[in-house]
């Protein structure tokens, strides 16, 4: 492609920029080349067709500021656009998080504007062939079918599976779309990513998010990574981590079944058996308590229930811990000593900790460790949970989940009333949208919907066993990689039983090819985040604004436009967009954010107005790299991205909260206390903070969350304006839409949500104190009796959920190797997007399984041999063996980003023409198994069993 240097018309004229037309032309060329290139053996790699180099251009350069969409670190990017074409990408040296740095994915971001391996037009499957549709026809047909399903099976028969790749506004609109459609059957990848974190952490101290920030890690003196591999999953975070190591002499401790690239940078590496995290943490605490290394003052003042932890930990002396985790006493002691002697320290965890049936126990155990050491609420400390997708934090906050409305308001009547007020829609009208019948004693409107991890069972279970009118009949996969979910063969079966599959995505995704259907599948091309604008929440709770870099490529549309089209077709377009202006057929993103601001009081998404976020975006350079605070300039004193909670209204001017629960600063300046979320006492014991409060607090002790009545008791009621009084009467800090209660509380130095203790005991959970429980598929049968899993649950998120009945069976003889999974730096999630980028795909052309050399010798397998990995539920994958000491002898590891080959069979010819990724491979999750967290339905991907056999030829 060559840019015309002397363009006869200005860029973008007529709505169809030069780029767009040229891309369309190019796509024709590319498909021709593709057909000719043929297919290359099992590796499924295919070299990029004839050179398609961006031409040099002298045209005027427009520089856009955007944020990388590959992970939650939130790296800033300068995108240079000439005549509508993304011609250059420059490092954003002034960006406060990444300082211009990128990993393989971020450094190749520009290919989003060039790769032609995209879903280009709306398509439908007719007799096994992809047929191109026009947009209006596609919306019409899909809408008719969906309405028919609603008529026949009720609103809960359609599942609205959303995405963490949406920006905040789109994620919010998706939740709203499902709500107005009349179902809670909506979810996104947080469920299979950090749902156990959110549940575990929020139930410990109030909010389910990373407490500190990546930049703040620079201040840590010890960093404990458990189930986290930032070198591959969050590479730019390593910039901060290595700074701590170099400048602060911080101890880097990596606890992982696999010797990762992060472990290669560690001071201490500990190999533990997958699924033994709780026992490991208790083992550390055993030494900490034994030696009196805990922070007694902190525990007294700010922690509830540590004594119960003590008695549980007493059951985990070194020999027990060694038996369960495989880690000897000396190593346990060494790590305990290192983290105790090097404070403040933080703990970092990711999928390795969360994706277990015991995920919620794991995350709470990590929190308890930090509480025991007094590492919370201090710079350099904290629970630094690195989120996965670029906006998984935002999508979670905005309630794109089956168990809550935006802002964690839940599904109670009060929550619905709160949001219907914000939406300017009659509550009764919404109520009528739902199935009015009770199932299992609760109304669908107020009961948790089916989770993304379980939609398969939502399709396959008998109607009678599902706590809704019928099984799922129609699925929207709106930005979802199905290959990131376990139980491949059953998923395939579920797909064949559906009446309607709609994939809305920039890429066809594995869902489009792994189903055995010949009809009833629609593909709608969505625009990427570089083809639209909006805000995105990074892992440190900071909101960043993205410019639109280029016009949507091919025939794609931004997600919120497609949502609006669907809402209109389904008959609630007006209710959907009541507060928004519509421009170019889309709700105006800024208006959507303002609606979010208006309702999100719980987590403080209220102060981040579009104007403030844009001001932050324009002034990256004014933020300090270490503190994230703006030093001078137009937004002096703000913390970058107004990390939530950013209390009150935008006019109130709260700077954001850089560190959660940091009492050293007044709340008004970003300080915070532990949230009083669980009442004021439990079993007669006080739950409020004991004799401490944040700096400048007028209440020097613990206090409950603020309500109108409390203001009156304190005599602060008259600090409200007349207007605020009107709005605040009878309300609390979460429901007062004027923000007055929050403002007054903060002006008196108090946190609106109260000042309480963090709790080690979550009495509402199956295991109030986290317990070690053996995985469902465990090789250690000898431990099952002592550490059994839970009993089966009849109905949980509307579905029967199995525990004991699976663990009862001994698979360890036939499947002796523990199978775990993880990430590669080049790919992300299901990998469909990144495998469609030639610059990245070139670096990882083959799916593989890591096998320890000793195990490989036992099995007669050599490096690069093809092997079958069999899972105990019958799934199997044919992959290349990588013989490496990274894994222990009894553990095998597979990356989960591949797809397009199913149990040895290539699905390459099932992709729409020109939309097949450069690299295909077996999906690791074809071989993974059943297992869901007892609190959140998180899937178990990190610990199952397998058998590995050399593949014949």
């Amino acid at each position: 492609m060559r840019l015309t240097r002397k363009s006869s018309q200005p860029a973008g004229q007529g709505g169809l920029g030069i780029s767009r037309r040229q891309f369309l032309q190019r796509s024709g060329v590319a498909t021709g080349g593709l057909a000719a290139a043929g297919f290359m053996g099992h590796g499924m790699m295919q070299a990029a067709s004839a050179k398609e180099k961006t031409a040099y251009s002298d045209a005027p350069v427009e520089t856009k500021r955007t944020i990388c969409s590959h992970c939650s670190v939130g790296c800033g990017v300068y995108a240079e656009v000439q005549e509508g074409v993304w011609t250059k990408q420059e490092p954003a040296f002034d960006h406060p998080i990444n300082r211009g740095a990128h990993c393989a994915k971020g450094a190749s971001l520009r290919e989003h504007g060039h790769s032609t391996r995209r879903l280009k037009y709306p398509m439908k499957l007719v007799d096994g062939q992809w047929q191109r549709l026009e947009w209006d026809q596609a919306i019409e047909e899909i809408g008719d079918k969906v309405l028919e399903l609603r008529d026949k099976h009720g609103p809960d028969s359609v599942y609205w599976l959303g995405s963490a790749k949406f920006n905040n506004e789109q994620a919010y609109l998706m939740r709203k779309l499902a709500a107005l459609w009349g179902t809670n059957n909506t979810d996104h990848q947080a469920r299979i990513c950090h749902s156990t974190t959110v549940a575990g952490v929020a139930n410990t101290w109030g909010y389910g998010a990373m407490t500190n920030s990546l930049n703040d890690i620079q201040n840590s003196k010890s960093i404990l990574f458990i189930g986290s591999n930032p070198s591959e999953a969050h590479p730019v975070a390593m910039q901060h981590i290595l700074l701590a190591k170099e400048r602060n002499n911080a101890q880097i401790i990596v606890v992982d079944p696999r010797f990762t690239r992060t472990a290669a940078k560690s001071d201490k590496y500990v190999r533990l058996r997958p699924g033994s995290d709780v026992a490991y943490i208790w083992g550390l605490l055993w030494h900490i308590f034994e030696n009196g290394w805990e922070d007694t003052q902190f525990i007294e003042q700010r922690v509830y229930g540590m004594d119960k932890v003590r008695s549980e930990v007493a059951n985990f002396p070194p020999d027990v811990v060694e038996s369960i985790t495989g880690v000897g006493e000396a190593d346990m002691y060494d790590v305990a000593k290192r983290i105790s002697e090097n404070r403040p320290g933080c703990v970092v965890w990711c999928m390795g900790g969360t994706q277990h049936t015991t995920g919620n126990n794991n995350t709470r155990a990590y929190c308890i460790l930090e509480l025991a050491l007094g590492n919370l609420g201090v710079s350099g400390g904290g629970a630094n949970i690195f989120r996965g997708h670029d906006n998984v934090q935002g999508a979670t906050d905005l309630g794109l989940m089956s168990h809550s409305l935006p802002g964690y308001y839940g599904l109670s009547e009060g929550a619905w009333k709160h949001w219907s007020k914000i939406w300017n829609v009659d509550y009764e009208w919404i109520k009528n949208r739902f199935d009015p019948n009770e199932y299992n004693g609760s109304l669908p409107m107020n009961s948790n919907g089916i989770t993304v991890s379980r939609w398969i069972d939502g399709v396959l279970e008998e109607d009678a066993d599902i706590a809704q009118r019928s099984s799922l009949k129609g699925m929207f996969y709106w930005g979802h990689a199905v290959n990131s979910q376990t139980r491949g063969p059953e998923m395939k079966k579920a797909m064949s039983q559906l009446e309607l599959m709609v994939v809305v995505d920039p890429y066809p995704t594995v869902a489009a090819v792994m189903n055995d259907r010949t009809d009833g599948v629609y593909l709608l091309p969505a625009a990427t985040q570089f083809e639209t604008t909006g805000s995105v929440t990074a892992t440190n709770r900071a909101l960043q604004w993205r410019d639109q870099v280029i016009e949507p490529m091919f025939d794609s549309k931004p997600d919120h436009e497609i949502m609006y089209l669907m809402a209109q077709k389904l008959g609630f377009g007006d209710e959907f967009t009541r507060n928004f202006a519509i421009e170019n057929g889309r709700p105006v993103i800024e208006d959507v954010l303002r609606e979010i601001n208006a309702g999100m009081w719980t987590v403080g998404y209220t102060g981040q107005s579009p104007e403030r976020l844009k001001a932050h975006q324009k002034n990256w350079h004014t933020f300090d790299f270490h503190s994230m605070q703006a030093l001078g300039g137009p937004i002096d004193g703000d913390y970058y991205g107004l990390p939530w909670p950013c209390w009150g209204t935008a006019e109130f001017g709260h700077p954001g909260t850089p560190l959660l629960y940091d009492m050293s600063k007044p709340v008004k300046e970003g300080g915070l206390t532990f949230r009083a979320r669980f009442g004021v006492e439990h079993d007669g014991v006080n739950l409020l903070a004991d004799g401490v409060a944040s700096a400048g607090s007028e209440i020097k002790d613990g206090y409950p969350e603020f309500t109108a009545d409390m203001l009156k008791q304190l005599g602060w009621w008259d600090d409200l304006t007349a207007e605020e009084k009107k709005a605040a009467e009878g309300k609390n800090w979460k429901t007062d839409l004027s923000g007055g209660i929050q403002r007054v509380a903060i002006e008196h130095g108090c946190a609106p949500f109260g000042n309480a203790k963090a709790r080690c005991e979550v009495w509402t959970f199956p295991d109030p104190i986290p317990k070690h429980r053996e995985p469902l598929y465990t090789p250690r049968r000898d431990l099952v009796e002592k550490y059994p899993t839970w009993d089966d649950v009849a109905s949980f998120y509307r579905l029967p959920t199995l525990y004991r009945s699976i663990q009862e069976n001994d698979f360890s003889q036939e499947f002796p190797i523990i199978l775990t999974s993880g990430r590669l730096v080049e790919y992300e999630g299901g990998g469909e997007e990144t495998r469609s980028m030639s610059w990245l795909a070139e670096l990882q052309q083959e799916m593989f399984v890591e096998i320890n050399p000793a195990q490989a010798n036992d099995l007669g397998i050599k490096n690069d041999d093809m092997v079958w990995v069999h899972g105990p539920e019958g799934g199997k994958v044919k992959v290349k063996a990588m013989v490496t000491p990274r894994v222990a002898r009894d553990v095998a590891f597979m990356p989960f980003h591949f797809g397009g080959i199913f149990q040895g069979e290539s699905l390459a010819d099932k992709y729409p023409e020109g939309a097949r990724p450069y690299v295909l491979g077996e999906a690791a999750n074809t071989a993974t198994t059943y297992g869901y967290d007892i609190v959140t339905q998180m899937q178990e991907t990190k610990c199952t069993l397998c058998r590995i056999e050399k593949a014949s030829a």
Partner: protein, 216 residues
């Protein structure tokens, strides 16, 4: 006159391959041509260490010395460039290069390899027009006053590029900060810096005695 060099700080390199794709982004080399690569030694073992490698723009460049066509030249900034119009794809530069930097788009019978391609330090190459330069050699960031994109985008600032004196100053400072027992090459237990005053004097310790004048 600057002498441009790369230096990869192996203590910082995490094998994220950002430099590899940054190069692709800047220069849009063909599938299979990676001007920069990341190499990991002792993979999966406690001594694992990674390093990003490309053309090192040697002072006494072996490729230049063995090239039958004399297509290489050195810029005033010490960057080794080559003229693709003169290159015949004989492969000699690859035989001589200590780092595997030269690559060829193909390798076929009768020594048909196409024109050699290698890292240009983002300094482009000889061409009549900017269009031609970009098409043949990729970006000329040096001309725009920028450094190679691989180093600019390095996720942990492991890969340094620039004037040799400057990058060795940066590296030396890091080595002093983190303590060293082996010239800063790999992870050993950190030398504990003794004495309370040392931390304040780190920059002093990083002073390079070989330099006549010290810049701030």
């Amino acid at each position: 006159m600057a002498q441009m060099k790369f230096l990869c700080d192996a203590e910082r390199c995490i094998e994220c391959n950002g430099c590899v794709t940054a190069c692709k982004n800047a220069n849009e080399t063909d599938w299979g041509i990676q001007r920069r690569r990341v190499v990991t030694l002792d993979d999966g073992m406690p001594s694992e260490v990674s390093i990003s490698v490309a053309c090192m723009h040697c002072d006494d460049a072996p490729c230049m010395a063995v090239c039958p066509t004399d297509c290489f030249y050195k810029t005033d900034d010490g960057i080794v460039l080559h003229d693709k119009d003169i290159c015949i794809g004989c492969g000699y530069c690859l035989y001589a290069c200590p780092f595997g930097a030269p690559q060829f788009p193909k390798q076929e019978a009768f020594g048909e390899r196409g024109k050699m391609d290698k890292c240009t330090f983002c300094a482009g190459g000889p061409a009549e027009t900017k269009e031609e330069e970009y098409e043949k050699y990729g970006a000329n960031r040096i001309a725009e006053g920028k450094l190679p994109l691989c180093a600019e985008m390095c996720s942990t600032k492991a890969l340094l590029a620039g004037d040799a004196q400057t990058i060795s100053d940066i590296f030396r400072q890091r080595v002093v900060y983190r303590g060293h027992e082996d010239g800063g090459w790999s992870s050993v237990e950190k030398a504990q810096l003794s004495g309370p005053d040392v931390s304040g004097n780190l920059d002093e310790m990083a002073y390079d005695a070989t330099r006549a004048t010290r810049e701030g």
